[in-house]
């Protein structure tokens, strides 16, 4: 297992290199640059800016310079947010996104899994239809609709919770964004869990378990649950990576200082270093999460073993 993990981590390096290289050149190929805007800059000013950020060098030189700095763990300065380096921006924003995203995923599992199991066990009953329609609603209504409505109802009309703001991560400020972020995940997880549970309940080993005279509760908890979790786990890997790196919608609506916005703002502002920083960070996280998923697989399913 250890050597498998190490091997996978070693493979991650060339994967990330490819991702970085492609992103670097794609970003430069996009029309418009970091200094194009409503106001045309005098040529001398533009020359100063280009020199300061080494944009006057040939592209391969810029690439080598970037990779050299990256090898030393330096993501470079942000083109837009001058008082922070890209590393500082990510390090300041990531804990916030991680907290909101982690809580949202936790909440989604806590609610989504039992809902899916119940719906599967009571298949085609009123409960099943109710859960599945709600889940469909949760998937269909995007969070840029849910979030402002929640802010309006609970923040403005009822006044129970703040309509926005981070306030150092105080509990009242967490409630709305976490719920808004988790709704879609609850829906996905419940639907996935239901489908996989139904499949498991129809398999031979469940019949054997029942034939041994186990109670239905024991059958579900001891035999059906574990294998049914597999599809959910493989979904969770990339999903967690995506959610803990922030949601631009939730962050902007609730004014949360996470890193989700950097993916969008960085690209729109052509903030080359910021875009590259977020790409490297997100890429590394995806690789890591996928590895964790594979390791978790072998824990859940005895048939899966990683040989060296």
């Amino acid at each position: 297992m250890l050597s498998y993990t190490l091997k996978r981590l070693a493979f991650a390096v060339p994967t990330l290199l490819v991702v970085i290289t492609i992103s670097f050149f794609l970003m430069r190929a996009a029309p418009g640059g970091p200094f194009d805007g409503e106001r045309q800059l005098p040529p001398e000013i533009e020359a100063n800016l280009k020199a300061a950020y080494h944009l006057d060098e040939p592209l391969p030189m810029q690439y080598l310079r970037y990779m050299g700095n990256l090898a030393q763990g330096d993501f470079g300065p942000s083109f837009k947010y001058k008082d922070f380096s890209v590393t500082e921006l990510i390090m300041q924003g990531f804990p916030v996104s991680l907290e909101i995203g982690g809580l949202a995923i936790g909440l989604a599992l806590l609610i989504g899994l039992p809902l899916g199991v119940i719906a599967a066990l009571k298949r085609n009953s009123t409960i099943d239809y109710l859960v599945m329609s709600l889940a469909l609603g949760g998937i269909a209504v995007p969070n840029f609709v849910i979030a402002p409505i929640m802010a309006l109802v609970f923040g403005v009309l009822l006044g129970w919770l703040p309509a926005g703001g981070w306030n150092g991560g105080a509990l009242p400020n967490l409630v709305l964004p976490v719920i808004a972020l988790s709704i879609q995940q609850i829906a996905y997880i419940a639907r996935m869990m239901r489908a996989s549970m139904i499949e498991t309940m129809g398999s031979h080993f469940i019949r054997t378990a029942r034939a041994k005279g186990l109670s239905e509760v024991q059958v579900v908890l001891r035999h059906a649950l574990r294998p049914s979790l597999l599809p959910v786990v493989s979904y969770l890997g990339p999903a967690i990576a995506a959610i803990v790196t922030g949601s631009v919608v939730i962050e902007q609506i609730f004014g949360i200082p996470g890193i989700g916005r950097y993916f969008v703002q960085g690209a729109l502002n052509r903030d080359y270093t910021l875009v590259m920083g977020t790409v490297v960070f997100y890429g590394a996280l995806i690789v890591l999460m996928n590895l964790l998923v594979d390791l978790l697989y072998s824990a859940l399913d005895p048939q899966i073993r990683y040989n060296d």
Partner: protein, 528 residues
Amino acid sequence: MKTPFQRFAGAFAATALLSATPVWAQTLNIGVIGELASFDTSQVSGGTWESDVLLDVFEGLVTQNPKGEAIPGVATDWDISDDGRTYTFHLRDDAKWSDGTPVTAGDFVFGWRHLLNPKNASKYAYNLYPIKNARAVNTGELPPDALGVVARENGKTLEVTLTEPTPYFIELLTHYTAMPLPRHTVEKYGRDWTDMDHIVTNGAFKPVEWVSQSRITAVKNPEYYDARDVALDKINYYSTEDRNAGISRFRAGELDVLREYPSSRYQWLKENLPEATHMSPMLGSYYYVFNQRQGEPTADPKVREALNLAIRHQVLAKQIMAGTFLPAYAFVPPGVHHYTHQELPFKGQSMDERMARASALMKEAGYGPDNPLDLTLRYNSSDEHKKIAIAVAAMWKPLGVRVHMQQAEATVHYQAIAQGDFDVARAGWVADYNDAENFLALLGTGAGNNYGAYSSQAFDQKMTKASTTLDADKREALLQDAERIAIDDNAAAPLLYYVTRNLVNPALTGWQDNPVDDHLSRWVSFTP
């Protein structure tokens, strides 16, 4: 073990103590529409949200009153030489940085050299180009100490030499690019002087906390010379990019001021929060550029005139934009200092008359129902720009103009139009300083923002002459002449003037609508 009563009494006392502070402390919560780029004014990218913070924490030689007019700041007064090229500023004795160090003329010299030093790559360095040798310093041809600014009399006097007499120079100094820099801390900490642990400022407030992308907190600067008259103790600037969410936060009482609420919400806000909803004319122009490069259909003045004639400005302002813009009939908006507002000559004519003339002009230019004119109209992606583009295209349709719309994100849009890749394109300009020259310079031959490449010798001559004319009335006449030339040439299509849109807690006093839309918190207080 405490009795319940003791506990209650203890809690009561604690609450009384805690609430004692807020009774006196005034905290202002402002929703600004973006994130400050830097507290180093040379590194700022030019957003209105950046002035909101910087003008509260720094003060230049000249500052602004609640009406947005230039008033003495760190300088108590100034003398201007007869040739208009030398300004001598007398600094106040009691101007101090927030650590108690006096603000000297040397701090201005240091700050301006820092801004113009090519190594610092300041985007807005050109704001100080009127100063002698500024451009040469900025390009690296001359060393920073060649800049035409000298500190005299132990730092109590600042002498500034200009290349040309610049009648709007005082207005220019209200901009954050003209702020002083705390030489003593910059030399001590280098680039880290803006760290919250090190930063010192000389405005009415000093920043104490910055949570990136969330909030900047500033507190009253006790060393400020006018601190006695500053009512607020604390300001939180919340980065509020989603302005609809900002409205919710304003309604929930979490914000006292929301800057630039979305125009689409104006009607609703006016009905539901009439006392808080502010809107007033602003020094900003929303216009369409005609590409006048050789071979373009819009290089023909007849076509340009016809297109301008067919635009229904009132419809755009009132129906399409629901009253959140004002109709524009000129390049320079109304409300500019010392300038009489000009207007398109056909403003008073009926639409029938205008359309008849427009059709005739199109015919003369060789277009008509059988030979329609195809135009590419470019705009940067936004619902507002899209609505306006669709409306204008519909207004041009009766002339046989077929409009092909092309939208792109802002960076791509401006790059494309700077390269001349368009027939008609959307552009906007908000004044850097309150002067007609700032708008008219956009039409000068070879000017950076002259996207349409309009070029008129007569116009350029008037502008050049105006730039060296010291007499304010004569200068105004020259600028008016220039604007009339551009209007007669249909150099561009003025469509709308911007307005300021703010939600302001009615309990605030000292907050005034003004055409530059700068609101220094120094003047603001809560009504007791």
